[in-house]
Amino acid sequence: MSFQPVKFYQTGTFTVGNRLLSPDQRSVQANMERTNSLNSGHRACQGCGEALGARYAIDAAMHATNNQLVAVNATGCLEVFSTPYPETSWQVPWIHSLFGNAAAVATGVSAALKVKRQKAEMGDVRVVAQGGDGGTTDIGFGCLSGMFERNDDVLYICYDNGGYMNTGIQRSSATPPAARTATTMPVGPEPGNPFGQGKFVPAIAMAHEIPYVATATVADLRDLEHKVRKAMTFRGARYIHILVPCPLGWGTASHDTLKMSRLAKETGLFPVFEAERGELTHSTKVRRLLPVEEYLRPQKRFAHLFGKSPAIDTIARLQAIADKNIRKYDLLDKEAN
């Protein structure tokens, strides 16, 4: 943790007051001049992880660019809850075009801004594109890969809640195995989403060897802010994948959004790391390793695993995924655990 000498959990909680920190260490959200880029009054559900993630991410990007930022949005929850006509929560120049083209629209904005900069008609204005997991890992994947491959100067942020929550909780390629969705019901011999399917786009982004790839959760918002700010120090294509619990889709209590994010990380099911030009550069260690059951049990989408006769084999398969992540992304601090 090169950027963060103070270990917040030393106080026993995750919410250290900013007064303990020097001004340069304080979060963007704690700054009096934060931009409230995604302003209050929007129509996200109570406990929405995506609204929280977007608020922190875009404010951090605004801070990093001295408010010289344009945001591009894919269709999805974030777009719908933030801009019910004629209202808008966005305090940044913002455009929504389609479900599957946010990365390409961002490429266009970036190209236009580059020309405006060359002509001295504008200063250095940067671009952030954002979408949910459906708009990123499924329908928008072609445009995303094209943007990566050309190394266009765009930071793409995926808010991953593991499904099409806006249309009624259907399965996406980011839905975890065994999870119940409206299109992977817990019936038949292998209830829920099948094992052996799906894709982890951060790894695919790394394969494009783009300048910067990172994952984050809304449990560690300082880490999220840091990664967005760091991403803005690079030119070219950058990708941040943020796990954002969806109380509605996951069947969790709205006050447990941060807890669920933390459990995803602490069980190893969601690896938190950074990579530059295709190589892993930093892994956020699991502080106190927990069995996956701790993460699965509170979620109604996994309730079928914990009936009268628990699906021990299925839980073991999910544990194996976590174990593999721990090995692959070097998530365990050997001295601490």
Partner: protein, 418 residues
């Protein structure tokens, strides 16, 4: 300056003279030479302050164009056929957002069966997309329409398709008069957007609109196209003043005075029709032709005025609405509402089938005698069609249609030459 160049290259040079800021494209025949030409000019530094982006699909091409246009850049792309269909969701989005993108459509058939040759099925399929559609008759007009298109698009904040016949125009070497940079600069001012993504004045573009306002937003798109009906002739007049030639406008008549029979068509086909008509006029037949340049907006009043003295109208179109027949013909009938004129629809030139003067001559002779069915398929080989129909009657698993027909065409070709 007079030049003997390929149509695609003429368009590329004309677009370059318009000082585009972002160009994005995905290759598809017969559009390729246009974007190759501009790409080379950008790379060589001949087009200053312009980003050329090689995208991964036509859907991305139109999406990049949406982003760059919304960020205030003069934006150009080109496509054809399957490419246009692949970008359709973004095509509608660009007009819905009111972004003045200019796109060349190098008109080509739509598969299946896959076919790279010319007809108008691609752009016509987008007639309700909200884009303005202008059809060029010659390479000179294609070149000129691009210069006019940027002005029109930016004045209305609406995207424009310039449609030119694939291969017949795009790949034909013709003499064109290429304007100078000074002429184009005097005609086309820098782009001043109505809406732009600017941190100094942040706006949200592309909000969710419900039943309370959706119809109004769509109506305003229609209103813009109605304004285009006034603007297109005005811009053509300005163009004539600046460049010294007639190009563009809504419709163009040829030998319409006292014409009892009026042929209606779009694009390069008009040249062949004019030649045919000259011959028939020489033989004393009162026949003329009306070329439709602006297909969207459709100039109902101008078409009506041009046709109202005629006894019959023959619409020859390179499109086909399966299940009903003509598409341009349907619009022409709307223009003639309440006037009693016989009308004939002729579907011709699909998938690049040559439309010869000989065939047109025979067709128009029949029309003049009112000896045409309502719907004619010009030069359709009924033997081959009937053979396939018979095959399907005989055998349940009769096989793929196109391959059967190709085999029939091949064997009859062999029979003729053996």
């Amino acid at each position: 300056m007079l030049k003997q160049i390929e149509g695609s290259h003429a368009v590329a040079e004309a677009v370059a003279l318009c000082r585009p800021e972002v160009i994005c494209a995905y290759p598809i025949s017969p559009q390729t030479h246009i974007v190759e030409g501009i790409g080379e000019m950008v790379k060589a530094g001949e087009v200053k302050n312009c980003e050329f982006i090689n995208v991964e699909s036509e859907f991305a091409a139109m999406s990049v164009a949406i982003g760059s246009s919304a960020a205030g850049a003069r934006t150009y792309t080109a496509t054809a056929s399957q490419g246009l269909l692949f970008m359709v969701e973004a095509v509608y989005n660009a007009s819905g957002l009111g972004l003045p993108i200019v796109m060349t459509v190098a008109n080509r058939a739509i598969g299946a069966p896959i076919n790279i040759w010319n007809d108008h099925s691609d752009s016509i399929s987008q007639r309700d997309s909200g884009w303005i559609q202008l059809f060029a008759e010659t390479n000179q007009e294609a070149l000129d329409l691009h210069i006019q298109a940027f002005k029109l698009a930016e004045e209305l904040s609406l995207p424009v398709m310039v449609c030119m016949d694939g291969f017949i125009l795009t790949h034909a070497y013709e003499r064109v008069d290429m304007p100078t940079q000074e002429q184009v600069d005097a005609f086309l001012p820098p782009y001043e957007p109505r809406q732009v993504l600017d941190p100094a004045d942040p706006v949200s573009i592309g909000a969710m609109v419900g039943p309370e306002a959706f119809a109004e937003v769509r109506y305003l798109e229609h209103e813009k196209q109605m304004r285009a009906l006034e603007l297109i002739p005005k811009i053509a007049d300005e163009f004539k003043t600046g460049f010294g030639r007639d190009s563009g406008g809504l419709v163009r008549g040829y030998r319409l005075d006292d014409a009892e029979t009026v042929v209606v068509a779009m694009g390069s086909l008009l040249g062949t029709i004019k030649d045919t008509i000259d011959e028939m006029r020489a033989a004393g037949v009162k026949i003329g032709v009306l070329g439709v340049i602006s297909f969207r907006p459709f100039p109902l009043a101008e078409v009506r005025a041009a046709l109202k003295g005629a006894k019959r109208v023959v619409v020859v179109e390179k499109t086909f609405a399966v299940g009903i027949g003509g598409i341009l013909a349907t619009d022409i009938r709307t223009a003639m509402d309440g006037i009693s004129i016989l009308d004939y629809t002729v579907v011709a030139g699909l998938g690049g089938r040559p439309i010869t003067k000989k065939s047109l001559h025979a067709l128009f002779e029949k029309a003049v005698r009112d000896d045409l069915p309502d719907l004619t398929f010009l030069d359709l080989d009924w033997n081959i069609v009937n053979k396939q129909l018979e095959r399907e009657r005989q055998k349940r698993r009769s096989g793929p249609v196109a391959e059967n027909i190709l085999r029939d065409v091949g064997s009859s070709h062999v029979a003729q030459h053996s």
